[in-house]
């Protein structure tokens, strides 16, 4: 199922409900639902944050197949931003050396089972899957 969302943090509640309705209807358990919602928010907010000069909607598709979940996010007329690039986050640093920010994509990369990024003609597409809790 596909739906377009306005490029705004205020879309997060509707985005959550859209995905939750699909996951609940397919009896997807919390062990998969939580990371799917987290990955979806991190990618969506990343797109909002790093493409401020674009006002086009962000397309979201959620597909459930055999207990696994595949989510695709697409956006047009944006600069390249490879979300699969490893993030340099020192999660073992003491409090004094930690700075807010930068954790979103690091978390994303650690909680999904696969993550793919495609960019051409100023169109970005991100696909992630989650198949196990």
């Amino acid at each position: 199922m596909h739906k377009d969302f306005a490029r705004d943090y205020d879309s997060l509640t509707a985005l959550y409900q859209f995905a939750e309705d699909i996951l609940a209807a397919n009896d997807i358990g919390e062990a998969i639902r939580f990371p799917v919602h987290l990955a979806l928010e991190e990618l969506f907010t990343n797109m909002v944050k790093y493409s401020p000069d674009t006002d086009g909607d962000i397309g979201v598709e959620v597909v459930v197949d055999g207990g696994g979940v595949t989510v695709t996010l697409t956006e047009e007329d944006v600069d390249e931003f490879d979300v699969t690039r490893p993030r340099d986050v020192d999660t073992g640093a003491p409090l004094a050396e930690r700075t807010p920010g930068g954790l979103g994509l690091y978390l994303l990369q650690n909680i999904v089972d696969s993550l793919e990024y495609d960019y051409h003609d100023r169109r970005s597409s991100v696909v992630f899957t989650k198949e196990s809790g």
Partner: protein, 97 residues
């Protein structure tokens, strides 16, 4: 929906979903905390990196005066997020029993 309020013993009760759209509300509340305080997450269902940023910012500010946030009744999924982030080493965190 996200709610944050003081409980009867001075603890901070957090409930619902702390996503990026709720950060302003959470940050405003946390900015008023000036001493060691317990956050009760028993009714908090979800947190994203945006919420983690607020916790980290508050913890760093409190540490300057020797105070700290303690977090209790954390559900398994949120605890996993803390663990992936290394927050279990910089916060006193108790999982929900």
């Amino acid at each position: 929906m996200f709610e944050i309020a003081y409980g009867s013993d001075g603890e901070v009760l957090c409930a619902g979903r702390l996503d990026a759209a709720q950060c302003e509300k959470a940050q405003s509340f946390m900015d008023e905390i000036g001493d060691t305080r317990t956050l009760d997450f028993s009714a908090l269902e979800y947190i994203s990196s945006a919420g983690l940023g607020i916790l980290l910012k508050t913890q760093k500010r409190l540490a300057e005066s020797g105070a700290a946030l303690k977090i209790v009744n954390v559900n398994k999924h949120i605890y996993d997020v803390f663990r992936y982030s290394g927050f279990n080493a910089i916060f006193d965190i108790k999982e929900k029993q």
